[in-house]
Amino acid sequence: MPSKDIDKFHGVWVYMERAHTGELVTVGKELLGKGRDLADTLGVELASVAMGADVSDEVAHECFAFGADKVYAVEHPLLAGYTTRPYTKAFVEVIEEYKPEVLLMGATAMGRDLAGSVATVYYTGLTADCTELVIDDETKMLHQIRPAFGGNIMAKIYTEHFRPQMATVRPKVMVPLDRDDSRKGEVVRVKPDIGEADLIAKLVEFVPSEESVNIAEADIICAGGRGVGGPEGFALMHELADALGGAVGASRAAIDAGWIEYAHQVGQTGRTVRPVLYIACGISGAIQHLAGMGTSEVIVAINKDPEAPIFKIATYGIVGDLFDVVPKLIDAIKNKRGDA
């Protein structure tokens, strides 16, 4: 049976994804928090892997400040923009050389793409969207808890004979450590063996979304469903989101009706979100929608129908016409913010 010499693999790694602007994405910092915990439990080092045309000392310093002991700075001009092949090849090279036992990555568009490729090429186990990661007391293996079937079941998964044990985690699931700028560490610079021949796809352009906040990372989401009634209704959702400094989400019904673009869809066929506050307006709460937002910290539901399933999972529910309730809510928030 295929396997790896697992005793040769040591240490916990966190892949530090960088945004198009070059700064670290939040999920990377969150994973350093979890990685620190895992590394301490195992009594091993926590390293961060950052890739790009260049990895500045500032980037490395950020990684240290959020918990890393070491940073592998993987630099090459061909890593300027993310494409799968050169990143995968460079990553596999670093894994082969330094052999981590655990490798965590953000479950972002980039992280999932890269993790799926790296795990395939290197031949190891990868578990997507973990919500909990723990080191098993006895085996010292990484136990990965993840939802499946839209959150209807949870599975505990592990990788027995292969290393690294790879997992992706969605944004806002783990908690970053408090930033500590006094923390220092070691930077290991790596120049991977990649060339023009690996540049089989090219990032031509990045078109930022017009929304200032994206729903995957928003702390507050105001979502509208069928009850919003039309595109005009979403103007009200935007107003509520603006008052709260949040982003606008939508149920599948609203997307399918063409009232708002797909990028706003929350749910099984849209995005999974986990904000601090989720306000569901005129959303009945089909199981597919709940799968995408059911782990939000506080859920507020506003719906005309007292029987709507959304009330079953809501922290607070108001039965009423959203066109009566939401404007009052906006005023109340503005007043409150004005007082503060």
Partner: protein, 263 residues
């Protein structure tokens, strides 16, 4: 143009049953459908061959009953169907699955583009698409929301990829693999003629030897991950209904949200 549309049959139910001992799904007695994202893959493939001529071959892996999903794809307009099915495939994780499907693709032979849904609604991993491409050594672009251009003469492809903060415009060359999000198109319904055709269609079924899989790399044995346990998540605590007219209810709500520290 030759398109391979990769699809998965998934259970269509809210009541998911698992085998608690083996940690695998019990598929018996549960209505099965084509993974919703894969319908968009099929649709995009059909649109491409309508524009460029050619055919869409639908490829799936699963138990024998997954043939229904392949037939449904043919009823939508796909020209040919292949099902990878073998008892030895059972228990495959995303590594072994993508390996097996890649072998199936190699056996199918020439193709220009492979299209798959961004993920399946049962496993929700999104790992098999990039996995297939990695096994085949072809370019992969995930989360495609629009194909901007395909030029068969120069073999260039330009697509838009939906990422967290916007869209990436990415260029690559054929043959490649893309995974698509729901926003890319609206899948068509099967036509009557399509349904008739699907009923009579010969579905090719291949086992592991037919596609030349190394036996130690398939099924549970070839899978790096193991399922230790399946359990039901803790239910969310009972919520609180706030009574009263809108003014009163909003006032109470704001107070509670402030207490929770969220506004």
């Amino acid at each position: 143009m030759r398109v391979i549309a990769c699809i998965k049959q998934v259970p269509d139910t809210q009541e998911i049953k698992m085998d608690p001992e083996r940690g695998t799904l019990i598929r018996k007695g549960v209505p099965a459908i084509i993974n919703p994202f894969d319908l968009h893959a099929i649709e995009e493939g059909l649109r491409l061959v309508e524009e460029f001529d050619g055919e869409v071959v639908v490829l799936s892996m699963g138990p024998p009953m997954a043939e229904d999903a392949v037939r449904e794809a043919i009823s939508m307009g796909c020209h040919d169907g292949v099902l990878l099915t073998d008892r030895k495939f059972a228990g495959a994780d995303t590594w072994a699955t993508s390996y097996t499907i890649a072998k199936g693709v190699e056996k199918i032979g020439e193709f220009d583009i492979i299209i798959a849904g961004k993920q399946a609604t049962d496993g929700d991993t999104g790992q098999v698409g990039p996995g297939i491409a990695a096994h085949l050594g072809i370019p992969v672009i995930t989360y495609v929301v629009k194909i901007d251009e395909i030029d068969l003469a120069t073999r260039k492809v330009k697509v838009r990829r939906l990422v967290e903060a916007g869209e990436e415009v990415v260029e690559t060359t054929l043959p490649c693999l893309i995974t698509v999000v729901k926003g890319i198109n609206i899948p068509r319904f099967p036509s009557l003629i399509g349904k008739r055709k699907a009923k009579k269609a010969e579905i090719t079924t291949w086992g592991y030897e037919d596609v030349g899989c190394e036996p130690e790399k398939i099924g549970l044995g070839g899978s790096p991950t193991r399922v230790a346990k399946i359990f039901t998540p803790e239910p969310r605590g009972e919520g609180e209904m706030i009574p009263g007219d809108p003014d009163a209810a909003v006032a109470v709500l704001i107070e509670k949200l402030a207490e929770d520290g969220v506004v």
